[in-house]
Amino acid sequence: MSAINVSKVLDQSHASRVFDLAEMPLRELNRALHNLTLGSNETAWEVLNPKGSHSVAVGVDQPVTIDVRGSVGYYCGGMNDGSAITVHGSAGPGVGENMMSGSITVKGDASQYAGATGRGGLLVIEGNASSRCGISMKGIDIVVHGNIGHMSAFMAQSGNLVVLGDAGDALGDSIYEARLFVRGKVGSLGADCIAKEMRSEHLELLQGLLDRAGVTGVKAAEFTRYGSARTLYNFNIDNADAY
């Protein structure tokens, strides 16, 4: 993808909360969102014709709602800090990467690295997610209504990953303190990832996440919890086979 020539971007103010990316460049959308200040009246935004654009609504740091009417490319909502983004379509790689707070809902499917390194907020994927979902997550909550691919939650440090469907191979490899809840089958567990008991606090936590993600008719008790065996927390040569 070619870089946008900044000099060609029109310098005009936008009272409108509807952005048609078929008519205006991405730069204008993101600039307008970044110019928002706390207490702004422009709290509801709509993005038309994203047509797979990358970096839609990245770096937003105000509590506004953003409805994206269509599918997006890479990194939609990247580093989101407080806004509620809904993608009425599917999302490309890295949706909600490094999210800080707020929420992102993808009505369709998500590609690789969904919620990668996320530090907070809620990412909901109503379809399936591809490989590396929640990779290196650092506090984000992710709820996937469908299945997730291989190497998901690799080196996940904290936060919660909820999967209503199945998980692929090497789930939670080298996991730290993140919690994984899977309702369906798991292809295989990664190094140091084990199934764990579902205690009452986990059931309560999971039910809260399901409620927040708009999941109905599914009970927390249907899930298995996975987490770290903590055997790789301090390097020991006797564990070398696990590396």
Binding site: M1, A3, L26, Y75, Q112, T117, R119, Y233
Partner: protein, 442 residues
């Protein structure tokens, strides 16, 4: 009288030298490879293998201390709305909080600011010590993404996407649990006291096409204001530079194998990557082939020690150099005043490299509160500023002798090599000849 054959002098193997033998014994006893900080310690072709040709008849020198020799450099002029302007072409390389103490980061910021140059964050995220004391701060976007957040991204003056380090191209790191203090654990979202394994690759992109989109995302988040650097370990400098340019980088940083690290396997440090000297000409050639030399700036790092190194690197075509290990030494690391304590740690001043253990007597590579107090950030910052000033004056002296009114006017023609190896790597003639070995191809 009986004849006795003359005894054979005991002979040690060049292959199994004392150090190698000690490493075999240590490995056998402990069952783990040696992890250490710093960069390659073996002797490598380096800037010492080049000489500068001062002016005489064919060139006309400038007067030292009289005639101006500019040192300023602008980094990030390709796309960024706010390129960085530095007074000197020597920057401070990324060194993490966690690996370094808070006072050490503050001292780096103070010294760099006094000298008109930049500091760089590191794996631990941005600290107030560093942001508060660095007029110009480069924020590293690392595979681990420790402490990464959009607020700090916007508080930075430039963003450096770290793909690799010279000491360990392709390798991750290991910060042992004793350095994961409460503060470090909080910044890195890790339980206190565990060994921290930092990633060797970015989690959310896998190749140059992804990198291009990642750069676009970072530009969008920061409204195209900040220069985007791309830093790679010196392994395949021609192709990595070309791909970084293709991906949209404003600045390419190449870190040669003498570049330091906080903690990696000794065998990795000494055997992976290429010498700094070998990385420059291929990187410059890539920029020239793409018509981007001086448009995308090139920073080289890894074993830069003095103004001669700076002058030679600039003559080979780089726009600036970066220092890490040398900056730590300027702050007071490995100082002989702590010799007794270095001895207690089984080493000596000048050789201490177990930075990951957190017991640095100089209080620089530690999180121990008592040791940290040994470093006065104001005095250490002044020492760093003095050192940067000396390096700059040295480089200017050499440049003036070559007739240059700017450090950036130094050129390969100002250099010859002492060895065939250095001549081939640097692409300059062997001294006394017009022979450049291996001129065609890398």
């Amino acid at each position: 009288m009986t004849y006795r054959n003359p005894p054979t002098t005991p002979r040690k193997s060049a292959t199994f030298d004392d150090y190698t033998l000690s490493e075999i014994r240590r490995a056998a006893a402990t069952g783990i490879y040696d992890i250490r900080g710093a960069g390659a310690k073996r002797k490598l072709p380096h800037f010492d293998d080049l000489l500068v040709l001062g002016a005489s008849i064919s060139r006309y020198p400038l007067e030292g201390y009289r005639e101006r020799c500019d040192t300023g450099v602008v980094l990030g002029s390709r796309h960024a709305k706010k390129p960085i302007e530095l007074k000197i072409p020597i920057t401070i390389a990324g060194m993490s909080f966690g690996s370094l103490s808070g006072p050490a980061k503050e001292a780096l910021g103070r010294g760099a600011t006094l000298s008109g140059t930049s500091t760089t964050t590191g794996d631990g995220g941005m600290t107030e010590e560093e942001r508060g004391h660095s007029k110009t701060l480069v924020y590293q976007y690392l595979p681990s993404r420790y402490g990464m957040n959009p607020r700090d991204l916007r508080r930075a003056d430039a963003i450096e996407i770290v793909i690799g380090q010279g000491a360990k191209p392709g390798g991750g790191g290991m910060l042992l649990g004793q350095k994961i203090s409460d503060r470090v654990a909080e910044m890195r979202t890790l339980p206190k006291g565990i060994d921290q394994r930092s990633a060797s690759r970015h989690p959310d992109w896998t190749g140059p096409d992804d990198l291009e989109i990642k750069i676009l995302e970072l530009r969008e988040i920061t409204d195209w204001e900040k220069p985007i650097y791309v830093k790679v370990g010196g392994a395949r400098p021609y192709y990595d530079t070309a791909l970084a340019v293709k991906s949209g980088a404003d600045v390419v940083v190449i870190d040669g194998m003498q570049g330091g690290t906080a903690a990696t396997q000794e065998v990795f440090i000494e055997n992976v990557g290429q010498p700094t000297l070998a990385c420059i000409r291929p990187a410059v050639q890539a920029l020239q082939d793409l018509g981007m030399h001086r448009k995308v700036q090139l920073i080289i790092s890894g074993g830069i020690r003095n103004g001669a190194d700076v002058a030679k690197a600039l003559a080979l075509g780089v726009d600036a150099v970066s220092i890490g290990t040398a900056a730590l030494v300027a702050l007071g690391d490995n100082d002989p005043r702590w010799e007794a304590e270095y001895n207690e740690l089984g080493t000596t001043a000048g050789a201490y490299d177990d930075w990951h253990e957190g017991r640095d007597p100089a209080g620089i590579t530690t999180q121990d509160p008592e040791l940290m107090e040994r470093l006065d950030p104001i005095a250490a910052g002044r020492r760093l500023a003095n050192y940067l000033k000396v390096m700059t004056l040295e480089a200017q002296t050499i440049a003036r002798a070559c007739g240059k009114n700017s450090l950036h006017n130094l050129e390969p023609e100002d250099l010859v090599a002492l060895t065939i190896e250095a001549a081939a790597m640097a692409g300059v003639p062997l001294a006394g000849t017009n022979w450049i070995p291996g001129k065609n191809g890398f």
